[in-house]
Each structure stands twice: as C-alpha cells, then as structure tokens.
Amino acid sequence: MFTRRQALLGAAAATVLAGALPKLASAAPVTEAEIAALPREKVVLVKPPFVHAHEQVATSGPKVVEFTMPIEEKKVVIDDEGTEFQAMTFNGSMPGPMMVVHEGDYVELTLINPYTNTMPHNIDFHAATGALGGGALTLINPGEQVKLRFKATRTGTFVYHCAPEGAMIPWHVVSGMSGTIMVLPRDGLKNEKGEALRYDKIFYIGENDFYVPRDEEGNYKTYESHGESYADTVQVMRGLIPTHVVFNGAKGSLTGDNAMKSKVGETVLIVHSQANRDTRPHLIGGHGDYVWEEGKFANPPAKDLETWFIRGGSAGAALYTFLQPGIYAYVNHNLIEAVELGATAHFMVEGEWRDDLMKQVAAPGPITTN
C-alpha cells in the first residue's frame, strides 16, 4: 500500500532516472545516503589521444564513477632533437587522460602521489564546484593518496590541472600536469535544433606549451631533477614565449605510426584542451561541422568553422564527418607554432575520392601562351 508521499517520491525518482530533472537535482542537496545508494562504476583510464569506452546517451540514471590516477614525475623526450624534459604527469601521460561522465553523475577520483615523486601535487577540476575546483582538498605529498568526489553539474569539456600553490601552479601546469573531463548531457550531444548528434570515434588532443632553458651556446639544457630545472625554467616562462608547442606531450607524437585514423563517412569528435595558453585548432583540408569552441554543450554548436579558438584554461570540442580520403594535418593555426614549435598532428583517412569536391583539372606543366 502506497502513501501519496511515497507515490510522489517514486515518481520523482523515476524522472531523475530518465534524466529530465538534472538542474533540480543539482539545486537540491542530495544526502550522503542517497549517493551511497547510487550504482557505482569503475573506469580504467586510457592513454591519449584515445578515450575510455563510454555511452554517448546514458541508458541509466546517475551513478558514481570511480577513477584512479597516479601522479608520475619523470624525464621525457619532447622533440626530434632528443631534448630531455623534466615532466610532471597525471597517469604518466601528457596530457593527463580524459574522463567521461554524464551530467548528474558523481566523479570519485583517487589521486595517488607515489613515494618515488619529490613534490606535493593536487588537482583542480574546472568542472567541479568549490574548494578551488578540489585543489584545496587534494594536496598530497609523496607517499600519500586522497579521494575526492564532486558532482558533474554542468555539461561540456573541462580542463583539470595541478594547482599546488603560488609559483608552483604555472610551473606544474607547463610541466605537463593538465587533462580533460567531458561531462555529456544524459541524452547526448545535440545540434542547434536540439537534434541528436553522434560520433563514431573520439580523439582527445592535449596541447602543451613548454619553456625549456638553453645554455650559452643555445642548446637546450638537461637537468638531473625537477628542482634543478626550476629557477631557469621560470625565467623562460616569464618571457611568455614557449620553446615548444606540442600535441600529446611531444613533437610528432600524433604523426607517422601514431597518426589518428579514420575513414570517409566517419564522424569524429575532436576534443582539444589547453590548460595555459590560447590556441586555434584547424583541420587542413577539412572543417568543423559542429564546434563547441568554449566546450560547453548547453550552448548550441557553431557550424562550418574553418578554425576554432580554444581559450587558455579551457577545452573545446569539434565534430566533423570526413568527406575525402587522404592525409590531413591538424594544426594550431598559428603556423609558426605548428611548424617551428611542433603543434602538428595527422589524420590518415581511407575511402573513395570525390572528383566533384575536388579535381586537378590540369596537371602542372609549362605556362601555355596563346
């Protein structure tokens, strides 16, 4: 036998499950007991530019999604000259891995700072509300771990980064400590008319600006530890001109054997994240069919863009269906940064060529005079 109150609660629960009332859910505090009753899902993160398997349209109600990220300080090579760089990473990669949840889900992150590290670290989620994005609740020393939970109340692609304190903040970020979380609407992406948009593949590109000191002869300096590199690096940082602007942690890391692969007719979602500095992605020979420049899905996407602007400290998303096969360069269209500093990736796209879209009507030859 149901009371009227029980019936109402039941109806409300059903509505929340269907995802129709996420704003109401974020407005009214949910009790710890209610959260404890939610289903839990453990997600294993994968290395960029790939993203862990996820639903585009949620088939169930909100849940608690568990992630674990160890922090790894390590020396990496960031260009084809073999320049060694003292990196700080979330989960061992630059950028840190991408997490995907749905609006109304709870993100529960276990952040681990192993004994092998030398510095305290934390995490500031731009998607989270309060406590400096979680930074004030997650500062851990080597040998410690911490668990943070926040509710994903806004949809979009959001940067996360390390923000320990003061001068450490920019240094940790330009040493590689940033990543992205994508909060999808429960019913998936939509165009400006509210019609569903889907992607066949998702690629996640994190752009890093590095500031590597040089010696008197102009060669990049190598340091034995992060601490030894700090003072010189800050001097270069204060000039605001990076020595490297790269995708996925190193020049050329998304080219050759590691070029991103697609085919004609396939729709890709390209998420581009830059935690520190403005950038302007451009797909040479292609477009952005639907682009959330600011990355926030509550806003209608811009259409048919040639180049899109990603503000430093944000992540954006571009949806594109490949129409023509070939090699596409995906660049930061400050071409000096693309070519000289390293911000170039490649797509290899298989499929049938369409002469109606493009054809070389006459091959190169001597100039005809008549």
């Binding site: 054997d257 040479i284 070519v339 490649h346 049938e352 060529w353 070389q360 190169p364 030859g365």
Partner: protein, 299 residues
C-alpha cells in the same frame, strides 16, 4: 705525351710568371701556406641504371621516376664530408656564413648549411687549395654512394588514377615505417663506416647537397620520353638515405604543418675535385693562384 704536355704547361706558366714579376707583384709578402688538400677517392668511369631525380607526370598523374642508363666519366670525390673545422676556417676568413651546426669538441661533418653555403665553401676551398672543387651532380653522388644509394625509396606512382589519396596514404605509411628514431647529433667521421669504394659516412644522418636542379617533367605514354619540362634551380637535389629536394637557402630539413614527408635529419655536403687526372697541372695551377692569394681575389 703527357710529359710533353706538362712541360708545355710549365713553360706557359713560366712565361707568364716573368712579366708578372716584372710588373712588381714579386715583392708581395710571403703567401700563407695553401690549405691541405682533402683526401679524395677516385671513381672510375662507369655506367649506371639511374632513377632520374625530379617529379614526373604521365597524363597529368604522378609517375615513377624513369630509370636511364647513364655514362659517367671518372671523377674524384672527398672521402669524407666537409668538416666543421674546415668550414669554420672559411667562416673565419669571412668567405662563409657561420653554419647552424652546434659547436663540437670533435671534428664532425658540418651540418646546418644551405646549398648557397656549400657553393661559397667550394669557391673558398678551391682558392685555398688551388684545385677546382665543386658539388657533385646527383648522378655523381649516386655513383659515389654505391650500394648505399637511397634515391627514390618511395615510388611516386599514382596507385589508383581515380583516387589520389591512395598514393598519399601509401607513401605516408612507407615513410612512417622507414622512419628511425631521431638521431640528429653529428657523429665523428667514420661513424657510419666506408662503403665498398672507401667513401665514408654516406647514408648516415647527413644528407648531401648536389648541383642538380629540381625538375618537373611530363612524360609521353611510353613513360620515358619527355614531352615538356620545367627546371627550378632555386631548389636542388640532396642525396642520402632517401632523395630530398630543398630550396637553396634552407639549412635544416625539418618538416611540419602540411608537409608530411620524412625530412632529412641534417644537411651537409662533400665536394668533387675536377682536375683529378692532372695532379701536376693542379699543383702548378695552385702555385699560380697562390701568387694572387688575397682575401678579395676571384678566379
């Protein structure tokens, strides 16, 4: 016969020298010693089946470079690439621009030099040694490289006439597969060893400039006969692990942006000595030139 010719040459020089002394050049300060002559390897006249450099089109579509049997007269080429130390001497005399090479405690091949830099060095080195030095043609470079000749590693052939992307994708994959871990640091001479002709380091991490211009050729249906061609001497051929084409002023081969090919790791060069068959004449020639050796003198 040769000896007679030599005597005739000496006589001619001697007869020239007298009037020069008479007009007062004899009191010039003692000239600086000539530069030591780089060690060379003689290559006998030969015929090779050679994939021509350049870009080839048949019916408006990229075609594989045709091969031709070409006869090459004997020549002498430097055993080693031009070294940073020698190049820096040219820089010190103001005849060459400083290379983009990193300073090195060891004597390593000079890198970070353009075709224009190589030309300037050849001119200075000819003046300093009294021999005629020049860049090899792409053909000579191929012969000297012997079994290490890379040439057109990747065919330009349009695989599918209806779909240009098939070729682009194939070539991209081939280049990615051929790519080795980057190792651009200059290596000491001999690091990559000699080829079967005793020429050192060909096909290492230094690509070598040649005197051959880039050319685009439209071939007839037989894929051999040229119908038309456009030569662009603002771009020259480099030989190395694979063939490359670079603008004359470029000093490094880095790629990026929409250029998706595998770039050469470093740009350098070695020279051919033209008067190899007549060492005595060359020596005389050197003496004669040495007489006028001034920073500004031209030949």
């Amino acid at each position: 016969m040769h000896i007679n010719m030599l005597e005739a040459a000496v006589g001619a020089v001697a007869s020239l020298a007298v009037p020069l002394a008479a007009v007062g050049l004899a009191h010039l300060p003692p000239r600086a010693p000539l530069l030591p002559m780089a060690e060379t390897v003689g290559i006998a006249a030969t015929v090779i089946d050679y994939p021509l450099p350049g870009e080839f089109l048949v019916e408006g579509r990229p075609a594989t470079a045709p091969s031709a049997k070409v006869e090459i007269p004997a020549f002498r080429i430097m055993k080693r690439q031009v070294g940073l130390a020698d190049y820096d001497l040219c820089v010190a005399e103001g005849a060459c621009r400083p290379a983009d090479a990193r300073p090195s405690p060891r004597d390593v091949p000079v890198i970070g030099v353009s075709w224009l830099d190589a030309q300037a060095f050849a001119k200075w080195y000819s003046r300093g040694t009294g021999a005629r030095w020049r860049l090899p043609t792409a053909l000579e470079a191929a012969v000297a490289a012997g079994e290490r000749f890379g040439g057109e590693t990747f065919t330009a052939q349009a695989d599918d006439p209806a779909n240009p992307a098939v070729r682009w994708l194939r070539r991209y994959r081939e280049e990615a597969a051929a790519k080795r871990p980057p190792d651009p640091e200059p290596k000491p001479f001999g690091h990559y060893g000699p080829n079967s002709m005793g020429i050192e380091d060909f096909g290492g991490n230094v690509w070598e400039w040649t005197s051959t211009c880039y050319e685009r050729v439209t071939l007839a249906g037989d894929r051999k006969t040229a119908v038309s061609s456009t030569e662009n001497c603002g771009v020259h051929v480099l030989e190395g692990r694979h063939r490359a084409y670079m603008s004359n002023f470029v000093r490094d081969g880095k790629s990026g942006g929409c250029a998706v090919g595998t770039p050469p790791e470093n740009l350098g060069f070695r020279l051919v000595r033209d008067d190899a068959d007549f060492p005595s004449v060359a020596w005389l020639d050197a003496r004669l030139r040495g007489l006028f050796r001034q920073p500004s003198s031209q030949f």
